[in-house]
Amino acid sequence: MNTPILQISDLHAGLEDKPILRGLSLTVRPGEVHAIMGPNGSGKSTLAGVLAGREEYIVSGGSVLYKGQDLLEMEPEDRAREGLFLAFQYPVEIPGVSNTYFLRAALNAIRKHRGQPGIDPVNFIKLVRQKAAMVKMDEALVKRNLNEGFSGGEKKRNEIFHMAVLEPTLAILDETDSGLDIDALRSVAEGVNILRGPERAFVVITHYQRLLDYIVPDVVHVLVDGRIVRSGGKELALELEERGYAELEAQSRSENQPALAAG
């Protein structure tokens, strides 16, 4: 069996004085696409933030192995250089920094880490054109300042464009579908599907089942109150769409708080 790309065991994490993830375990192997679904406040974005290395989250227990290394010990940039990519739920607007030049600096930082020489400008432009076409990213946006003045959909598409150029080993998509119209959703999904391959894995975090019509997951997990309460095949997403999260939430709470339930 394949060595897992990501192995999360009994992870406890949260903001100061506020536990959010309470014993989350998840194993992702090469070639797999995992969907993580759950209601608002269940800890989906916290999971993405902890994996990418956001400093505001405090890990109080458990472990995360990424390609066998202790991920939590790594700086955010080292995680990225090792092939971890987070598509942000809210990509940051950065005036004064060109999207293209930034992406070249990022790609070169990753290549340098791998002991490869920097990409030459001509090949880089070719690469950018090819990837932009792949995710149907407007070339004008490629040249503009990073996310500055981009619409919500354009920002999400830009995240997928970055992912396509950087070719990560593990991509985490944090609610990339929220706020997208159907065309944007399709091209984002197409971008992901083209990148799918035996060496690469995806964790697709979403509130809605809709995206999973286009990115068909191998496994669907339901995250409630900071723990995975159910896992199943792609049909689980459809079930959730029909029945909602309420039942699972009630169940999780009665298991977690027996004293309260009894009292």
Partner: protein, 460 residues
Amino acid sequence: MNGRSVMSNAITMPPNPVASAQLEPFLADFRAFDSRQNGSEPLAVKQLRQAGIASLAATGFPSTRLEAWRLTDIDPILQGHYQHPVAAPTVDAAALIPHRLAGCASLVLVDGHFSADLSDLSGLSEGVWAGSLAEALRHPELLALETLGRIARFGDPAQAFVALSTAFVRDGAYLQVAPGKAIERPIQVLMLASGGSTVSYPRNLFVTGAASQLTVIETFVSLNESAHFSCPVTEIAVGPAANVDHYRVQKENRAAHHVASLVLRQDQDSVFNSHSVMHGGALVRNDVVALLEAEGVSCTLNGLYVVSGKQRVDNQMLVEHAKPHGYSHELYKGILDEEARANFLGKIHVHPGAQQTDAVQANRNLILSKGAIAHSNPQLEIFADDVKCTHGSTVGQLDPDAVFYLRSRGIGQEAARSILTYAFAADIVERIKVPALRTDLESFLFNLLPEGDVVRQMAI
């Protein structure tokens, strides 16, 4: 009050003994300077100088009780002991090379004195007069004598340094562009402090005719590390429908004191754009007064200050919208590290009747360390009812979300900070239209930033 309206040989002393003690070295220098002039200057200049010293003696130096000087501590300046060079000292031409801007004519002042040998005024178009102010004042066909002192006013205690500088008017750069003429290449006015504890009072006067065009760069540099004091005054008369691009680079040494005034007056439908870059000096005070005294003028005043250590930089802007349909746009940005301090006071004054004024003012400060402090004080005084005036000021650190975003794509933390710091300055850098000047500023920033090489590669 106009400088020429005060005329007196009697110097009245302010009663305060501290104020008198502060003034005395400057008054003594004035007496020596005045006797040396010995009739070599036009009478009007002598009278202007005397008006300057009389005004200074009457007001004394500004105290921190004055709003405009509340945050500028001038004690280090007044405690200095300065030599006032009688003539331009000899300077090795090679020492200037790093400071010259490629593609520009140059007009070099050494300690405030014009140096023909060091200047390169070749290739200027017909209709352009460029050279020494002292000489220009003796040419009756030029507008130097009748314009000098008419734009930079003094008399108010807050204008004491204009009065001081005026008291010592002798030389500087004079540029005049005839109506309808345009300069072929930008002119750099390179002002050098030759070394030693010198004081200099360069007086620059630029007069542009109707529908003319001028690009001028004022550069202030020190040739060594000794403490000196520069007290320049620049007056600019922008003619009707003229277009003036003005740049100023203050990169004197880290011990220098610098109190500068730039006063410009715009005639109808003229366009004036100014970009100031300040990163030198121990104490830099930069006063800009824009007199929009005719209809339909456009005035842009942008600035970038980049300071660290114990540097102090204080920018005071005053835009006088006196007539209708005026447009003014001010953007001053600051990057402060270590224990640097910056102060910005920007006042927009819209006079009664100056309808359809469109004025924007913004001051943005980026604080890179806990010890740095920036004050920002925008002021609007509006006495017309049909105007559009906005101002905004910010003092903040690098956005941690932006730093994280860059890091999450593989950029190192220090590189991310360098990229974002450069990006903060970029909108000023990008507006500089003189290629050599822009390259200079870019290089300065790349060298300053810890991961400047990453930024340099990104900018190519």
